[in-house]
């Protein structure tokens, strides 16, 4: 009897000590790793971008050995992959999305979780435009990690030298330069009309300068009609370039068939076939001909129109959180630091909206120019077509892309273009 009792006691003590041991072991592991867990990330970055982002993730995992991040690239199919995953009830922990419209959609459906915990950091390192961009219904849902500056014009140094012109600061100078370039024998503009979206970027850059940022916001939300006089003014301004068909490389038909690489190569080749192309900071990576920065090609900011302040229209890939876990929070907080952004900046092909990233982190002079302009811009607005419903602003062959391609074909039709834009926008925003 007593023996049994003793043995039971011993057993009980043994169990107690074992649990105690286990709990101390647990405590030590917690002390060792502040956070732990496995994270899955579905992102837009593929190829070299994926490799560079992996370097950022590796640095994070080194700091937090308890966390394992598995990155899967969905490339351009991010909207499809994520929509399907959300519908199927199995989203990844985190994602990076190119379309702010999709972020808003997910936020409205409560598919993504607020990330207000990162707000203090963003207030420190980002200009207010970026916080507004990520906010939906009063809560912060997205943080842009990789930005893009689309207010740049790339030019052939040789073509400018042959014509004896300098990078213009104003629209008037730009048009004067274009005339001189034509006389020198090089068409001034190479336009990627085949893709459609670069035309929307040109429109947005002209619009934010001729109509101002507040009208830009109204138009982006479709609280201003596309038949508004301000839109027509912008179209008329664009027609000063589109209408000068002799000054477009390949003429209108050539421009409408040119895709991104064609339009960039025309400027980057030797001898240059065209002098300038109005496209974002991704231009050097799009070229398939060899050209040297600074001596072969160079960049200047989109010029001011009638005294407009320096403004940047851009884009960016937004980081969102589907599952609120300490590990996910830790990763987002890490990505908000200049340290994380600097890792990718050093590897190239990256512009950070983070003001804390030192200019010296960028490997080449040109990225330094475009990236600093992006992070420091007083007036920054997100690419309007990316904010619009995809049926209007994000689909090849329809909506704004198609209508602006038609406008490139027939730049005299200002009123018709405006009303076509309005009816397409009205249909797309209704849904």
């Amino acid at each position: 009897m007593s023996r049994l009792r003793i043995s039971l006691l011993v057993l009980g003590a043994a169990i107690a000590s074992l649990t105690a041991l286990a709990s101390t072991a647990g405590a030590t592991s917690h002390r060792k790793y502040a956070v732990s867990g496995n994270l899955s990330w579905v992102g837009i970055w593929s190829g070299a971008e994926q490799k560079h982002f992996q370097a950022v993730l590796d640095a994070f995992q080194k700091k937090n050995p308890g966390v394992k991040v598995k990155y899967t690239s969905a490339g351009d199919n991010v909207p499809t992959v994520l929509s399907t995953a959300v519908a199927g009830g199995n989203p990844p922990d985190l994602a990076s999305i190119g379309q702010p419209g999709l972020v808003k959609q997910f936020a409205a459906r409560k598919a993504i979780k607020p990330i207000d915990f990162v707000r203090p950091q963003m207030l420190k390192y980002y200009t207010p435009s970026w916080i507004t961009l990520g906010t939906s219904g009063g809560k912060l849902y997205g943080m842009v990690f990789k930005g893009a500056n689309k207010s740049t014009i790339w030019y052939s140094v040789a073509a400018f030298k042959n014509a004896g012109v300098k990078p213009p600061a104003t629209w008037t100078q730009l048009l004067a330069n274009a005339k001189t370039l034509r006389a020198s024998g090089t068409p001034a503009f190479s336009i990627d009309g085949g893709d459609g979206w670069p035309l929307t970027d040109i429109f947005e850059n002209v619009y934010i300068r001729t109509a101002g940022a507040s009208k830009y916001d109204l138009l982006a939300a479709h609280r201003l009609k596309w038949t508004d006089p301000s839109v027509k003014v912008a179209l008329k301004t664009m027609a000063q370039i589109f209408g000068d068909t002799g000054n477009i490389y390949g003429g209108t038909t050539g421009a409408l068939q040119a895709l991104l690489a064609d339009s960039v190569n025309a400027v980057f080749s030797t001898p240059p076939k065209a002098a300038m192309t109005i496209e974002g900071d991704f231009v050097p990576t799009a070229a398939t001909v060899k050209a040297k920065p600074l001596t072969g090609y160079n960049v200047f900011p989109f010029p001011s129109i009638l005294g407009s302040p320096p403004s940047v229209v851009g884009g960016g890939d937004t980081v969102v959180m589907f599952k609120d876990t300490p590990a996910a929070r830790a990763l987002i907080s890490y990505l908000a630091t200049p340290e994380a952004a600097t890792i990718w900046a050093k590897l190239g092909g990256f512009s950070s909206p983070n003001k804390g990233v030192p200019a010296s982190a960028y490997p080449d002079v040109l990225t330094r120019i475009t990236a600093t302009a992006l992070a420091k811009a007083k007036i920054f607005r997100f690419d309007m077509s990316d904010l619009a419903p995809a049926a209007f602003g994000g689909t090849a062959g329809q909506g704004e892309w198609k209508i602006l391609q038609d406008f490139l074909k027939n730049p005299k039709d200002i009123d018709g273009t405006a009303s076509k834009l309005e009816s397409a926008a009205a249909a797309a925003y209704k849904k």
Partner: protein, 415 residues
């Protein structure tokens, strides 16, 4: 019981997706709201989908008939020529290439710039033999003293008399296209009884003053200059030298005009816009027919081999011409085979997709749209409207059903 695996596969991969697609087509983009037939209404009222339906109708009307006809002609001809087998292999080869790859090949061949697109390169080489491009195809008149355009020829506004000087400034000439042997342009000296002048590149870095002959501006040699009388007829021509100067000597007194004819400015051939919005549909169809003609030829060829020769011989003995034999005997006997080819092509053409996607550049995809492409673009091409996409899929499904039924009935009859 032993049917179970097949039934399970059918249910999982065919029946469930089918029912779900129909079901989904009654919901809106978000999938939350049941909207009855709104998607179907959108389908028939939006421009993009209507273009797709119209294009698909053209495809159905043109392509199956053409493929069958071409297959028939090839099959009959290859029976008779000596290199029939080699020809058959060549025509059948495209079947080994995927439609998407075939589309990429044609997309490259269709490029407008003759230096990049094979088709236009051929046309351009012939065209430029007949009408060689001018030496200064990029040039434009400079200053205010010249009238006319490069297409019509450029004329100096003010008439000239013997002893006076004619200046013909041109711009728009890229530095690498300035002819060899050109040197600093020289201000021409007036000569009694002669008309002198200069043609030069009126441009120096920064632009210079238009119409004024300045330092750093070079003469344009070998330009043919015309001297025209008051009626506009060319009475003499001369060519310029390295410094751009030219002289018409021994000119009778009177008023003349100096001009540069349009031949100097003739553009090199620009190429046909195969991939432009006007030609894109025929262009894609040609590529598609190129791929499928081999299939039609082989199937028809097999049918041809099975035709009893004595019937043909009998017709010939009775005095029919070859055409009559073909028209009255061969074709009727081949009718079952021809209809197999035709119906197969009909089904293929109804769901044509990948070749349109790969041949048409994004800027004309709306013009080249077909139902299957519209379905894909609506569902996955950025709009991500699975509701409308499903509606298009259901519509396509309904279109294919009658043809399938026809085919099944034919199979039954044959069995």
């Amino acid at each position: 019981m032993f049917l179970a695996p097949a039934v399970i596969l059918l249910v999982v991969w065919i029946l469930y997706p089918l029912v779900y697609t129909v079901w989904r087509s009654f919901y809106d983009r978000s999938g939350a709201n049941f909207i009855w037939f709104d998607n179907y209404q959108t389908l028939f009222t939006t421009d993009t989908t209507r273009t797709a339906i119209r294009n698909n109708a053209v495809w159905v009307a043109v392509v199956p008939a053409l493929v069958t006809a071409i297959g028939l002609v090839f099959a009959v001809l290859t029976e008779r020529i000596r290199w029939g087998v080699a020809f058959k292999i060549a025509v059948f080869m495209p079947m080994a290439v995927s439609l998407f790859a075939a589309g990429v090949i044609w997309r490259i061949m269709y490029q407008q710039e003759p230096s990049r697109g094979a088709l236009n390169a051929v046309i351009a080489s012939v065209h430029d033999k007949v009408q060689p491009p001018g030496p200064l195809s990029d040039a434009l008149p400079s200053g205010t003293q010249l009238t006319g355009t490069p297409a019509t020829g450029i004329v100096l506004k003010t008439p000239v008399r013997p002893g006076s000087v004619a200046l013909l400034p041109l711009t728009g000439i890229p530095p690498d296209q300035v002819p060899a042997g050109s040197v600093q342009a020289k201000q021409p000296t007036p000569q009694a009884g002669a008309i002198t002048g200069a043609v030069w590149r009126d441009f120096k870095p920064g632009g210079g003053t238009p119409g004024k002959l300045e330092k750093e501006e070079v003469g344009l040699p070998d330009v043919t200059v015309e001297l025209r009388d008051s009626s506009g007829k060319a009475i003499a021509t001369t060519t310029t030298s390295g410094n751009g100067n030219f002289t018409f000597s021994d000119v009778k007194d009177g008023e003349y005009k100096t001009a540069i004819g349009s031949a100097t400015f003739r553009q090199p051939y620009g190429g046909v816009a195969w991939l432009g919005s006007k030609l894109i549909n025929p262009s894609i169809m040609i590529a598609y027919i190129w791929v499928w003609a081999g299939f039609a030829m082989v199937v028809v060829g097999a049918g041809l081999a099975a035709i009893p020769r004595d019937v043909l011989e009998a017709a010939r003995t009775d005095g029919s011409t070859e055409w009559q034999v073909f028209r009255r005997v061969t074709v009727p006997l081949l009718a079952p085979v021809l209809s197999v080819v035709f119906i197969t092509m009909l089904i293929n053409v109804l769901k044509v997709f990948d070749i349109v996607l790969s041949v048409a550049p994004p800027s004309v995809q709306a013009n080249a749209n077909v139902i299957a492409l519209a379905m894909w673009r609506t569902s996955f091409g950025g709009v991500n409207d699975f509701g409308l996409g499903s509606a298009i899929a259901v519509f396509l499904f309904l279109l294919v059903i009658p043809v399938l039924a026809l085919n099944i009935r034919r199979f039954r009859r044959e069995v």
